[in-house]
Symmetry: C2
DNA sequence: TATACTTAATGTATATTATACAATAAGTAT
DNA sequence: ATACTTATTGTATAATATACATTAAGTATA
């Protein structure tokens, strides 16, 4: 008799990045817990339904939260350790939430991006939905802390090949400084403003506008916008 | 009543790369099929056992085949479509192989690397194990052709961050030309031999030996070897 | 033994890209 | 008027990437 093969539930969990000032954030949901200790924040996710693949499940989760129809999503890693479900409180919550006995659960982790100013949907199955700075995440259930940690590296790879994703984090009109701070947040390093500006000019898909900041107590910065048509013709990163 | 959640079997499948002359190969196994059509080649893989995570299962599969204890492995993507198991012949084979009714199966795909000259183990559950050039793969069951296709891109990412993996594909002693042809196979482009040689010299972890080819009908090329100690001190790619 | 044949080995000039660095501009606040 | 804050911009240098052809070292054969 051979060892038992693994038959398991499969979920998706989404790390949704947002950006404000000079800081990356991620979207966390507060689960409707049993006897909750602390705030019980976790990554948004769901078990996968029978007719879905993982991409579709992740899309469903994010569409519920953000209302965005064309979300950019990237699968980045599956977390499969049997120890994921070793915390009894986590397992209790799972069975409470899904009305099913769940012994083992693996998850397919996704990354996505969202303008942090976007109005989020009220989803009945959660108490709250909130943006949390990635430098100050609470302790989360399962391996969600580890998932976020590994996801940032993946965002870097993603930016290299598809810099378009940066503009899903910025407002429609943004300043050179905002773009630079975004790079600095993602790569966790400083960029010289002059050199950065030169590279930005080379990115033809970033168009300068004849609009400037208003109501700032210093010289007003010029606004730029991302031009998807030019971008699709020729992709260039920094 | 909500939709049924997915409870499923989970497998791992491994794309093992090998290199010879100027061509990348991948290791395929011939399944002990029922009434086999054609050769029934597929990627080596296995269902995941209960106490394992996916890394451990992939390691087990490859260790069985190659006998290598410290395999370098990289998880690269999970394939989760419900359509994976839409071919009845594939499903029949699964149930024949695993003595279990399998309706849905997702797989976590891995990449690994192996010297193509290595003597492979005879694994009883397969008829044959063979290296197949990645440009001329047979039609394989499930989505294995798609998995191989996507894996080559991942190898490129891997080389960028960890060039050490290249030397798992080459013999212990290799010539400059062999290394160049390996780069050319992976990136599917030509490299100028002079410029390539310059970059190779900058890689301090590649040591020139005082040994040269023998029994070749032209000028004998110098051999080089990879030095892990130097590599671990300072990683540099091409 | 001369000649052809094959692949190995190598340097220089140029273009591109990355980096280091500081002064002036445009506005607000006092 | 002066101080304060952030925006904007150029030049010089270093590092890296690219383009390109000749000589070296051996084998094969006429």
């Amino acid at each position: 008799m051979h060892l038992a093969f693994m038959k398991t539930y499969v979920s998706v969990d989404c790390v949704v990045f947002g950006f404000n000032k000079n800081q990356l954030y991620t979207l966390l949901v507060q689960r409707n817990s049993l006897g909750s200790r602390g705030k019980d924040l976790k990554l948004p996710g769901s078990l996968i339904y029978q007719p879905e693949d993982a991409d579709e499940a992740a899309y469903r989760v994010l569409n519920e939260l953000t209302g965005i129809r064309k979300m950019t999503l990237r699968q980045f890693k599956s977390f499969t350790s049997p120890k994921r479900t070793s915390d009894t409180e986590d397992v209790n919550w799972l069975e409470f939430a899904y009305h099913d006995k769940i012994e083992r659960l693996i998850t397919v982790a996704y990354i996505s991006l969202c303008k942090i100013t976007r109005k989020l949907n009220v989803v009945s199955k959660y108490k709250t939905v909130e943006w949390c700075p990635i430098d100050h995440l609470p302790k989360m259930p399962f391996d969600h802390n580890q998932i976020v940690e590994e996801s940032l590296k993946e965002v870097r790879n993603w930016v290299e090949t598809e810099p378009v994703i940066l503009f899903e984090l910025l407002p429609t009109k943004f300043t050179a400084t905002e773009l630079r701070l975004l790079y600095e947040a993602i790569y966790n390093r400083k960029y010289d403003a002059r050199n950065f500006h030169k590279k930005m000019v080379q990115m033809e898909y970033i168009l300068p506008l004849d609009e400037y900041q208003e109501n700032v107590k210093h010289r007003a910065a010029r606004y730029y916008k991302f031009d998807r048509v030019t971008y699709n013709k020729r992709k260039i990163g920094i």
